[in-house]
Amino acid sequence: MSSTVLATPPAPAGAPLTKKILTADHPTWCPGCGDFAVLASFYRVLEKLQYPHEKIVTFAGIGCSSRFPYFVNTHGGHYIHGRALPFAAGISLGNEDLHVFVFGGDGDGFSIGGNHLVHTARKNVNLTYVIMDNSVYGLTKKQTSPTSPIGFKTKTDPTGAIDQPINPMRTLLNTGATFVARSHATQVNHMTEMMLRAAKHPGFSVVEILSECVEFYAGAFDSSIPRKGGTWSLIAEKKNDGTPEDADRHDVTDEVAAFKLAGQAWPGSFGVFYENNVRKTKNVLEAELVTKARERTKNATDLQLLQATFAKMR
């Protein structure tokens, strides 16, 4: 099955991963799409992390943003609509050495895949999920999305959306995700930092990135872009330095404080809302089950185990 004779010599071990190496197909996104900036940030994240090339997995569901894996030269895949998370959970639990990144949009994450988001998060499967939220269905050319604001006119709501949209941050906090952050596609440094911290977090980490669809929802996020007259409100994280101003800073381990931030009026704040490094990952819990079971069976071989089981059924 494996090929032992290599046609060309492999890249020297330890050659650093660069954007050049990581670049694959040219993105199919429209010029000006916010997703280009997310992709650029992700290259920077991988350049900083320097994981072994073959151990990185870039995975996605369906949507404009979900084309992501074709543009990143790593192992990866493009799955069906909304179901990327349970697939990625299989990848993460199937090989502990892998670094799994899942990309998707607001439809993939909050609508068709909403159930999977909740359960992959609560199980704390070790992977990083980046939701590129443009508040519209772009690939299918402008239908209402679960994050479209009331009044937004689409082909399915020609007189304006009437349904209450999802509050992404409140939803994410509710899932039990152990790392929840929010960023903006116009803030490359901030995005890079958020994704980097998410990648390093042990467990289920999720970053919501407001990423404008210039074609079907231009100007959606202007209210948080300073050069367009908006307000860029960064979360000041508690430094525990004993200074009086530290008391007002946000404690990322405080779930209630995180929910308060999530309840802020639009456009809200950006940064890390919540981080829990105490809860064990599903990966660890499953490994513990294996360890205990192996101790009980005194490390019997597979053959011995099956033979012993069948002997009991005589």
Binding site: A7, G76, G77, I80, F87, I91, L98, L305, T309, R314
Partner: protein
């Protein structure tokens, strides 16, 4: 079983004198409530048969209600091949009036009715049967003593049956101790008291209802390995373990759940894991995720769950991912008859999902085959990088059979994922070869990493809108499955190799089909029986086999549909364009009785001999049609 000829044996203390009569096999139906533990009596009998080198088959119904309700357990045990659970019972044990009312019709004329005289009043003077009043409830209370409860009625009856059929008491006592030994000693003691009470009862109360199984010809048991007894779901789960499957994901649904329960419990011992997911779609997705890391994984469900998995299954076909999908079929559509058997998901298995999705469908013929079909499914999934569906059913899932312990050292498959380095020329989807994925984690010498995808793609996995590539890739996915078909051995053919009729079966209809063949042959009709384990793709050579018979009768448990053919019959007609292919189909939620298949065959062929053996005239058989 030899008919007992004494019509009355309930009177007082009549010492038994007659020697036990030799019988080939017996069908005992226990009818009570599910909380009475009649399943465990059946289990004891089945395991005893296994340990005695006898053949055994069981059949049970479990109410789909949550707590209790009427329930039966039927066990057929005997010497030599036992192919079906028996059309009618030789002995019926009725614990309650409702048990008697509902099941007296299943007792064959001349059979023995044992009824609990504390609860049941049978129809007076019904001399079709030998009616035996047994004080099951009060006898149990008396035997166990003091507790004032009738818990243990099941073991009391087990003791009684042991005496009547001259069963090995030592082995049964050992089984009881193994079963209850983990609990406190009182439970074992009470169980043995109930057993002894039941065992003692016939001595003074039955005149000549004593039997003994014919001696077993040990030469026919050549494997040299002891027999094991288990149900089909267990056999399937352990087959997967032997085949090196260490990863899986599922969602609970009857009758699939016990497979996932077994795997969830067993896999950690083997260093693996089974994930209970939030829904059916997540389950298949997680399983494909495991396969993507190089670990062939299993997911499963019943028909409704398979419907939910179909989109993902389409992806697995497009992305050419190896995967095992088990469907333990039940009565459908929708929630249907969730605790009954049906073979109505065949078309779904072959053609479900969207687009052109050639995939592999296998079906086990009995409990033992559940073990081996799992191994075959894994071999195919790995060799051809394809999803494989195993179509089991409720009957196989829940019935217990005895079979020779597998030759494990010869069967074990190494579960290790192949993460070896791939050469610079690596392509995930080569047009001229079967796909061999490089699992995530494996190095690619070219430094160009592959994408697995549901979009139509080129050889490297990049999306394409090329109509030429879509045609080529569709052919690639089709041809590998055809290649598998060409490699399959001719299916099992029994009876005459040419003649009047060929009976064709698939899945759990194998046993009744083979038994029906024997009856048809005995009636003087030249007939054969062909059984299909590989259903899609079909093995080669069927066309030639079919040509040798005047009629090909396909027996299956599903509806005859709008055009008068069951699902396999429909497919075989479409495939071979042979008008001799006809159908015997039914939808009563029960496994085929042998007599139903024989009658079905008789309807399709002109045979005075067969009609005579069935005791019906051609006229009446046609009238029923």
């Amino acid at each position: 079983m030899v008919s007992p000829n004494t019509p009355e044996s309930t009177s007082g203390a009549v010492p038994s004198s007659s020697a036990p009569r030799a019988i080939h096999d017996v069908v005992i139906r226990l009818a009570g409530n599910s909380q009475d533990g009649i399943q465990s009596v059946g289990g004891f009998l089945a395991r005893l048969a296994g340990r005695s080198d006898q053949d055994v088959m069981t059949y049970m119904t479990i109410p789909s209600t949550i707590s209790g309700g009427p329930s039966i357990f039927q066990v057929r045990m005997g010497t030599g091949d036992i192919l079906s659970s028996g059309d009618r019972a030789d002995m019926l044990v009725a614990f309650y009036q409702h048990s008697y009312d509902a099941h007296i019709g299943s007792l064959r004329p001349g059979g023995v009715l044992l009824y609990d005289s504390d609860h049941v009043t049978p129809v007076e003077g019904d001399n079709r049967f030998t009616q035996v009043a047994v004080p099951i409830t009060s006898g149990t209370v008396e035997a166990v003593g003091g507790a004032g409860k009738d818990k243990g009625k099941n073991i009391y009856i087990l003791g009684l049956i042991a005496r009547v059929f001259d069963l090995d008491v030592q082995k049964l006592a050992a089984l009881i101790k193994e079963r209850f030994g983990g609990k406190n000693e009182d439970i074992v003691r009470n169980a043995m008291l109930a057993f002894d009470g039941g065992y003692a009862w016939p001595q003074n109360n039955l005149r000549d209802l004593f039997y003994r199984f014919e001696a077993i010809d040990l030469a026919t048991r050549a494997s040299g390995r002891p027999q094991v007894t288990m149900d089909g779901n267990q056999a399937l789960a352990y087959g997967l373990l032997a085949a090196g499957v260490r990863h899986g994901a599922g969602y609970p649904i009857t009758p699939w759940s016990s497979i996932m329960e077994t795997l969830r419990t067993e896999l950690p011992k083997y260093g693996g894991l089974f994930v209970q997911c939030e829904d059916e779609i997540a389950a298949i997705s997680t399983a494909i995720g495991f396969s993507y890391t190089g670990h062939l994984a299993i997911t499963g469900s019943a028909g409704p769950g398979l419907s939910l998995k179909m989109e993902a299954l389409g992806w697995a076909t497009m992305a050419e991912m190896p995967l095992i999908v088990v469907n333990v079929q039940r009565g459908g559509p929708s929630t249907g008859m969730p605790t009954n058997v049906e073979q109505s998901d065949l078309m779904q298995a072959i053609y479900g999902s969207h687009g052109d999705t050639p995939r592999v469908v296998l079906s086990p013929k009995n409990v033992e085959d559940c073990f081996y079909i799992a191994i075959e499914a894994c071999r195919i999934a790995r060799t051809y990088s394809t999803p494989v569906i195993i179509l089991s059913d409720m009957a196989l899932a829940s019935r217990i059979e005895a079979f020779d312990e597998p030759d494990f050292p010869k069967l074990m498959v190494d579960p290790k994922a192949d993460l070896s380095d791939r050469g610079a020329d690596f392509k995930p989807y080569p047009l001229d070869a079967i796909t061999r994925h490089a699992p995530a984690g494996s190095k690619i010498a070219s430094g160009k990493y592959p994408t697995v995808t549901g979009l139509e793609h080129d050889e490297l996995g990049h999306p394409t809108g090329s109509s030429k590539l879509h045609t080529q890739m569709t052919a690639k996915r089709r041809e590998k499955i055809k290649k598998l078909g060409a490699s399959l051995p001719s299916p099992e053919l029994n009876g005459d190799s040419a003649g009047e009729v060929l009976l064709v079966t698939w899945g759990s209809t194998w046993g009744p089909g083979l038994e029906a063949l024997k009856r048809i042959n005995t009636a003087g009709v030249k007939a054969g029986h062909l059984h299909l384990r590989h259903i899609h793709p079909l093995p080669n050579g069927l066309e030639e086999i079919f040509k040798r018979y005047h009629k090909i009768v396909v027996a299956e448990i599903n509806d005859e549909g709008l055009y008068g053919y069951g699902q396999l019959a429909m497919m075989l007609r479409a495939r071979y364009a042979n008008p001799a292919i006809v159908s015997v189909a039914k939808t009563d939620g029960l496994t085929f009785k042998v007599s139903e298949i024989v009658a079905g065959v008789a309807k399709h062929i002109e045979s005075a001999d067969l009609d005579a053996s069935l005791g019906v005239s051609r006229q009446s058989a046609l009238a029923k049609n």
